[in-house]
């Protein structure tokens, strides 16, 4: 029983961070350089079995990767492409799976709405992916898509008046739980990154002749942010391991991770703006990037209310 990464897992995290530091700047759109490096390092199939074209690690390593993507505030269809690749592989479409895994094809996220659906990262995507009772691949050409201004600047948004037609469905029930864990992982990363931003600012920014982080009003908010981030990160790891091990309470832990991480990301991103005062309200500062990333990720795959309802239907954790 151990919730800290092994040396090998720490190396994976370090190499992911190196790529993100080198090829991504917070607030910038997804660059081709980052996408191709991600594909080269096998990010889209890190937790997929080798015989299906993946790297052969487990959801534990994949969750560590997605925490880093969340922390870096990286936009782009990383989650949709990863989830679509596994769904295609499990549905037997090895051609689509391999083009997604190689980064040649990208997937868009399709989230059902009250009238039709919203499509994220649609332009240029080869296929859509949507998550309900199963993970489904959908034909983006089957519906009219109209571009709309996105809340999260670098995540292109389109609206449709009907759901696109399903072309394949993953037969692996674990795929749905995996989506919850990876979403939670990105949200937990946001919770960590915003805590770090606030703490750094609290040490640097001086008012009334002292660093503002010395004032309890700011210090205590930072402490609360740290607690939320810690709870989110550790529950994500618990959920990733429970799912990877095929435990009966995997879905319980994945729902719990979604709930705790969603609340942590939203709360921390909001308080991070407040902690920065006027500079935090500017477009130039990156604090608002985490607010919109958190809101976007919080609403995917049924959102927080879906996870709350599902958790209450689960038997108690083992």
């Amino acid at each position: 029983m151990d919730l800290l990464p092994t040396d090998e897992q720490n190396e994976i995290v370090a190499s992911v961070r190196a790529v993100l530091d080198d090829r991504h700047t917070l607030g910038e759109p997804l660059g081709d350089e980052l996408w191709s490096a991600a594909a080269e390092q096998g990010w889209f199939g890190l937790g997929l079995r080798e015989e299906l074209g993946g790297v052969g690690y487990t959801l534990a390593e994949e969750a560590l990767l997605f925490v880093e993507l969340g922390r870096a505030g990286a936009p782009g269809p990383f989650l949709a492409t990863t989830v679509a690749a596994a769904a295609a592989a499990h549905a037997g479409d090895s051609e689509l799976a391999s083009s997604l895994l190689s980064g040649a094809a990208r997937a868009a996220w399709v989230e059902p709405g009250p009238a039709g659906a919203v499509v994220l990262d649609g332009p240029g995507a080869a296929v859509g992916v949507t998550v309900g009772e199963t993970v489904d691949l959908v034909d983006l050409g089957s519906v009219e898509r109209g571009a709309a201004p996105p809340l999260d600047e670098h995540t292109p948004l389109e609206r449709t008046t009907s759901m696109p037609s399903v072309v394949a469905s993953s037969g692996d029930p674990t795929d749905v739980v995996r989506v919850s864990v990876l979403l939670a992982a990105q949200l937990a990363g946001i919770a960590e990154a915003t805590t770090a931003q606030s703490v750094e600012y609290g040490k640097d920014r001086e008012q009334f002749g002292q660093p503002i982080g010395g004032f309890q009003a700011v210090k205590h908010r930072c402490a609360d942010m740290a607690v939320r981030a810690e709870a989110a990160v550790m529950q994500v790891r618990m959920a990733a391991l429970a799912t990877a091990d095929g435990r009966s309470d995997a879905r319980f832990h994945a729902d719990a991770a979604r709930i705790v991480a969603t609340n942590a990301a939203i709360e921390n991103a909001q308080w991070n703006v407040q902690n920065h005062g006027g500079i935090g309200f500017t477009w130039e500062h990156t604090a608002h990037r985490f607010v919109t990333r958190a809101r976007l990720l919080a609403g995917l795959a049924g959102g927080r209310y879906g996870a709350l309802a599902d958790l209450l239907e689960q038997p108690p954790a083992a």
Binding site: L3, A223, E230, A231, M234, D245, A309, L311, L312
Partner: protein, 395 residues
């Protein structure tokens, strides 16, 4: 990262489960006085006879010397055994988790050999004499004075918030021995025999109706200098020596217990009629979401606890991250009982005990202590901000 238990740990779990099934008392814990003391000490004696006393004490001091993982297993098996009392709500708590560990860290051979076996065997009750009316969160400003007279300390002053003072045999007492030194430097940690003349104990009734709290007054109380633990004027360092012990596993039982409470509450919400008078409480959207959130947060608390154990395994010492667990637990504990009162409707008008099965209003009142006792949540937030995050300390 893994969730596996070793075969030895699985074997240990079976052993603990079997023993608890055969030895766990079934009668409720008396709420106060000599009966309560007798109940708590009898349970400690049962633990001792079965080889389960001092599960977190090293073997060299007669403890069971369990690993942190095994302690976690023990606490969860205890919670699963459907106990009629909670493990930490006992007058043996200070001896087991504070006084005893302090002696192990800083006491001399005579102090250890006299006191430690008595604590383990369930013969004595210890209480704490730290806080004063003028020294709460700012504990180091304490002013109860002790003057050396021959081979004795003469203590005059007042302590407050001393749980179980009336039934205690010994007290871990902090006194000011050098009023001219800076406030952290002139304090001494001393063992006080509660039967010494000059001690006056006045019970304090709490908002939860309990009376185990007390004020303790000292009027020229004479304590042998041989009862000083560590060096005179080094008491602050001695008091801090048990901090890592507290951060470690002392509160694990509370955390595991809360998980069982939330599951009981979910069961209750499925059975009880809800606020609309027709459907079960769990069909109410707001109650359902609060229940689900509590379930998720208790799961995360468990994950944080495991992470704390993992960190201790790497570094050999529990880190300041333990303050995050205490902070999160205290506030979550309160939210759970607030939710319980919203679920039980008019049954919330009736006062219950603070302990036991199917009781909610007593524990609700008691839950206010969880963000105050042992350092308020404001102090916990300072610790997280300064020692975990490295934010500046400004006074």
């Amino acid at each position: 990262m893994n969730l596996d238990f070793s075969p030895a740990d699985e074997e240990f779990r079976d052993e603990a489960r079997t023993w608890l099934r055969e030895h766990l008392p079934r009668e409720p814990r008396p709420p106060e006085g000599a009966e309560m003391r007798a109940f708590d000490l009898a349970w400690q004696q049962t633990l001792y006879a079965g080889g389960w006393a001092g599960i977190n004490w090293p073997k060299e001091y007669g403890g069971r010397g369990l690993t942190d993982i095994q302690q976690m297993i023990w606490y969860s098996e205890f919670a699963n055994a459907d106990p009629p009392f909670t493990l930490n709500d006992s007058c043996t708590f200070v001896g087991n988790n504070h006084g005893g560990p302090t002696l192990m860290a800083c006491g001399d051979e005579d102090q250890k050999s006299f006191h430690l076996p008595r604590i383990l065997r369930g013969e004595v009750v210890w209480c704490q004499g730290f806080s004063e009316p003028g020294a709460g969160s700012d504990l180091a400003s304490l002013s109860t004075k002790a003057v050396v007279d021959g081979d004795e300390l003469v203590v005059t002053g007042q302590k407050i918030w001393t749980s179980y003072a009336e039934v205690a045999d010994y007290q871990e007492l902090l006194v000011r021995t050098d009023p001219s030194a800076p406030k952290h430097k002139g304090i001494t940690w001393v063992i006080c025999d509660m039967t010494t003349p000059g001690i006056d104990i006045r019970p304090i009734r709490t908002m939860a109706h309990t009376t185990d709290f007390a004020e303790v007054f000292y009027d020229e109380v004479r304590i042998p200098l041989s009862n000083v633990v560590g060096e005179p004027n080094e008491g602050w360092r001695v008091a801090m020596s048990t901090l890592s012990f507290e951060r470690g596993t002392a509160f694990m039982a509370d955390q595991i217990d809360l998980s069982a409470v939330v599951e009981d509450l979910i069961d209750l919400a499925r059975q009880r009629t809800g606020p609309d008078g027709r459907r079960p409480a769990i069909a109410d959207d707001e109650l359902a979401r609060r229940l689900a959130t509590a379930r998720a947060e208790v799961a995360a608390l468990g994950a944080m606890t495991v992470a704390g154990i993992s960190r201790t395994q790497r570094t050999g010492m529990p880190g300041p991250e333990g303050s995050m667990i205490r902070l999160f637990h205290g506030e979550l504990h309160q939210r759970v009982y607030q939710l319980a009162l919203d679920i039980i409707g008019v049954d919330a008008f009736e006062l219950t005990g603070i302990d036991g099965e199917g009781v909610w209003t007593g524990p609700f009142l008691q839950s206010f202590a969880y963000t105050i006792g042992g350092g308020t949540t404001d102090i916990q937030r300072n610790i997280v901000g300064e020692r975990v995050l490295g934010l500046p300390r400004v006074r």
